[in-house]
């Protein structure tokens, strides 16, 4: 301690007056120092009369406080008050307690310093850690980690369990709700499919095609009502739905457009008989709610009504050669003279009693589904046209209509040009054209098939084209002989079946137009078949080496054929000895004659004209061949055998 330099301690008293507050402009308000009586009161409060004159801290605190007062007051009156106090020693200077504290602190510090220096030497004193029976050092961190991990996992598990609990609760709630099928959620589902709007306190929907471009004046509104007839006590039925739709009464049930073609002339008594037969309702998607099926059926009824209204309007307005008859729910027209096309709207309500449905004069197979489908397509096309960009006015001030029609004024179109823009065909005309074409096509197919089954020689093949139009189809007809298809293929006909006519293009370039009469096609094919036989002989002669002496497609000799013309050919054998003459007609069949050389005929009249015997080698009289007794599967085969029999072999 003696070598230590003295430490200077400077002590400064705090400011005389304490700051009470600092104002916003920086001015400080000071606490007014206590007056003498106030000070006395304060000091008196601090006297602990129960305690003796012991602790220096109290004195130090008291001395500090008095030091201020000393500085401030300094009068003897204070002295008297202060003498009353037990602990106070007026002889000591004010900083005495402070000095004592500091001195004791210094003592302590010196002791500590001494101890530390001795301990450092480790000669007389050592530091020894307090022995604890602690865990082995290695295990310590691991178990700690384990415990800490366990705790944290437990905490995470708690959170997860809480969350899981919440989820299961919500799931069970949902299931309960599903079972109950809340009205609002069902309404939401309904809204996803149909347009709804709120009018007053009613919810109305729109099932018409007006937003898709239809101009039909039916309102097509349905009402959504709450299904309240549920008995909560009983078990909720499986198909319970809290929502019900009420459709307009004239759209109830199901409807379809029945298009059929009949051959017989219309019986006057039959007109107007409602030929309903209840078509089974199209199967709705499983799982779709009952209101969906109901609304879809009602929409279908509306569309059928629109189609029929459009058709009947056109049937009355459009002038045609044979007027269309519109009776109640049926439109009857005659596309061809002996043909009757009837389009009827069959609307069957859902009532159990339907007295008229049992009398069905026409069978269900009569109905042409294709045409019904086409009617639906055509009306939808018409809807789209009203909304298409060609119709929408550009500029906005122009009147509605086709874009080119708007230009017809400023560009001074004359009547021809105007007519070419306007699509003059209505729905009815289109469907009649399609029906005509279907009829022609089916009858052509039937004709070809009947010929093919009836006649075996030659064979007729038909290759129908896959790509057809609603108004045009085509078929390639080949007439061949069995076994000789490569040789005799000169008759190939391309038939283009149109709306009213059949156009035949022959392989040799001829174009023939046949009318809708069924007999014409049959006659034509029969005549072609007969021509084929003669053509086949010609081709065969080429192959066999026989010479064609004459050939004619339409001979003017012999009996007159009622169908087409007979054709004939004459061929001569390679060495000239024999000649075969064939005449084939559609009705008269085939007649084959063979010409022999004169020296082979026994019953020739001898005459004096021919002097030389060399003339006997020329061909002479004809002899008919009994063709039906000839060996051979078909005509060409027989002909080949005949030819080969008549050409001598060189062996």
């Amino acid at each position: 301690m003696s070598g230590v330099r003295a430490v200077r301690i400077s002590i400064e008293s705090a400011c005389e007056k304490q700051v009470q507050e600092v104002g916003l402009d920086g001015t400080e308000t000071y606490l007014q120092p206590l007056s003498m009586s106030q000070n006395l009161a304060r000091l008196a409060q601090r006297i602990d009369f129960s305690q003796g004159s012991g602790s220096e801290e109290e004195e130090a605190a008291g001395a500090e406080g008095d030091a201020q007062d000393w500085a401030g007051a300094g009068s003897s009156a204070d002295q008297d008050d202060e003498e009353g106090l037990v602990k106070f020693q007026p002889s000591l200077w004010p900083w005495d307690s402070v000095r004592n504290n500091l001195r004791s602190a210094l003592t302590e510090m010196c002791v500590l310093y001494d101890v530390l220096s001795i301990v450092r030497d480790k000669k007389f004193m050592t530091l020894d850690p307090v022995s604890q029976d602690a865990l082995p050092p290695k295990q310590n961190p691991q178990t700690l980690q384990l415990i800490s991990k366990k705790k944290s996992l437990a905490g995470a598990a708690q959170i997860l369990l809480k969350g899981a609990e919440r989820l299961t609760k919500s799931v069970t709630e949902n299931q309960e709700n599903k079972l109950q099928r809340d009205f609002n959620s069902e309404l939401l589902r309904l809204r996803q499919h149909w347009k709804l709007r709120k009018v007053g306190d009613k919810i109305l929907g729109d099932l018409s095609y007006r937003s898709a471009g239809s101009l039909f004046p039916h309102h097509g509104t349905f009402e959504v009502i709450k299904n309240t007839d549920i008995d909560l006590d009983k078990k909720i039925p499986e198909d319970y739905c809290p929502l019900d739709v009420q459709i307009p009464s004239d759209l109830e049930g199901s409807a379809y457009i029945r298009v059929s073609i009949q051959k017989q002339a219309p019986d006057i008594g039959d007109l107007g008989t409602v030929n309903l037969f209840k078509r089974p309702l199209p199967k709705s998607k499983p799982g779709s709610p009952h209101w969906q099926t109901k609304l879809e059926a009602a929409q279908n009824v509306l569309l059928c009504k629109e189609i029929f209204a459009q058709l009947s309007r056109e049937a009355v307005q459009i002038k045609s050669q044979i007027p269309h008859i519109v009776v109640k729910n049926q439109i009857i027209s005659q596309p061809f003279p002996s043909l009757q096309l009837s389009i009827s709207l069959c609307h069957s309500s859902n009532d159990k009693k339907s007295p008229k449905s049992t009398t069905e004069k026409q069978s269900p197979e009569d109905h042409l589904y294709v045409l019904e489908h086409n009617l639906h397509l055509l009306i939808r096309e018409f809807h789209k046209q009203t909304l298409s960009s060609i119709m929408m006015p550009h500029p906005a001030s122009a009147p509605f209509g086709h874009k080119r029609m708007r230009l017809s004024g400023p560009q001074a179109f004359d009547k021809n040009e105007i007519n070419s823009i306007q699509s003059s065909e209505g729905l009815l005309e289109k469907i009649i054209k399609q029906a005509k074409h279907i009829f022609l096509r089916s009858r052509t197919a039937a004709t070809i098939d009947s010929l093919a089954s009836r006649i075996e020689d030659p064979q007729i093949q038909a290759h129908w084209s896959n790509i057809n139009d609603v108004y045009e189809s085509s078929v390639k007809v080949l007439i061949t002989s069995q076994g000789y298809e490569q040789i005799c293929k000169s008759i190939q006909l391309q038939l283009n079946i149109g709306v009213e006519q059949i156009r035949v293009v022959h392989r040799d370039g001829r174009v023939i137009t046949l009318s809708h009469e069924g007999q014409e096609l049959q006659d034509f094919l029969l005549s072609q078949m007969s021509q084929h036989q003669v053509h086949a002989v010609q081709q065969l002669a080429k192959v066999m080496g026989w010479q064609v002496l004459s050939f004619s497609n339409h001979v003017g000799l012999g009996p007159v054929e009622s169908i087409g013309n007979a054709s004939a050919i004459t061929v001569a054998s390679p060495n000239g000895d024999y000649a075969i003459s064939v005449r084939n007609g559609p009705e008269s069949g085939s007649k084959i004659m063979v010409q022999f050389p004169r020296n082979q005929c026994k019953d020739l009249p001898k005459s004096d004209v021919l002097q030389d015997s060399k003339w006997n080698h020329l061909r002479g009289p004809f002899k008919e061949v009994q063709w039906n007794k000839m060996e051979g599967r078909n005509f060409v085969y027989k002909m080949e055998l005949l030819m080969s029999a008549l050409s001598p072999c060189l062996l």
Binding site: P399, S408, G409, P410, Q411, A412, F413, D414
Partner: protein
């Protein structure tokens, strides 16, 4: 739309307008033309309103609004030597709205109505020009469909006109002269009609003046 020539057929001596028309139509039918309905071309005159004339005191322009049944959805508006506007039929409604700027001249509606004949590529229209209740003249219009350039087919047209008009065949219309090789348009037809109507109106006016003069001279 082909090249068209519009001309006036003078009324034959001693005959009425109707009789002359009948003569012509009979000639056409003998030639082999087939009747194909009727036609009508009408013309209304408007002049610019006095309020819009301006301080220079320029003369009001005359505007003719014409319709032709050959172009049923169009309306033609033309000035005397100026442009011709081809518009759609809403133009008539527009004219009503423009009443402040264009005023209809009194008793100015002139029209020609008649029959339409088709003779192969030629379309012949013979019509009676009427102003009010009275017939004032005869208009003959011949259109040659296949050609659209005036200079190419004028000679053919002339020959055809000569075949049934005889000595009354007109000369080449003024519109051909200005745009010989340009494509012929319906507006040119309407210009020709306008000129025809103006000619007839002037004839009529001259006729009235002459009559007035004669009557006044007689009175004197």
């Amino acid at each position: 739309m082909g090249v068209t020539c519009v001309s006036q057929m003078p009324v034959a001596e001693g005959k009425s307008v109707q009789q002359t028309v009948e003569l012509l139509t009979r000639k056409l039918e003998m030639l082999g033309a087939e009747k194909q309905g009727t036609f009508c071309v009408d013309c209304e005159t408007y002049h610019t309103a006095a309020s819009t004339l301006g301080s220079q005191g320029q003369a009001g322009k005359l505007m003719y609004v014409m319709h032709n049944s050959e172009y049923p959805l169009s309306c033609f508006a033309l000035f005397e030597n100026g442009p011709c506007l081809v518009a759609d039929t809403n133009f008539d409604v527009l004219m009503v709205k423009l009443k402040g700027f264009f005023q209809s001249a009194k008793a100015s509606k002139i029209e020609t109505r008649g029959t339409r004949y088709q003779y192969c590529d030629f379309l012949v229209k013979v019509g009676t020009v009427t102003m009010g209740p009275s017939a004032r003249g005869i208009s003959v219009e011949v259109e040659y469909g296949p050609c659209v350039v005036a200079s190419d087919c004028w000679s053919l047209l002339l020959e055809f006109l000569q075949s049934f008009l005889g000595s009354h065949t007109p000369g080449a219309p003024a519109v051909f002269g200005s745009r010989h090789d340009a494509v012929y348009s319906p507006a040119d037809t309407m210009v020709q009609y306008m000129e025809l109507f103006n000619k007839i109106r002037k004839q009529q006016q001259d006729g009235v003046i002459d009559e007035a003069r004669n009557s006044s001279s007689r009175l004197k």
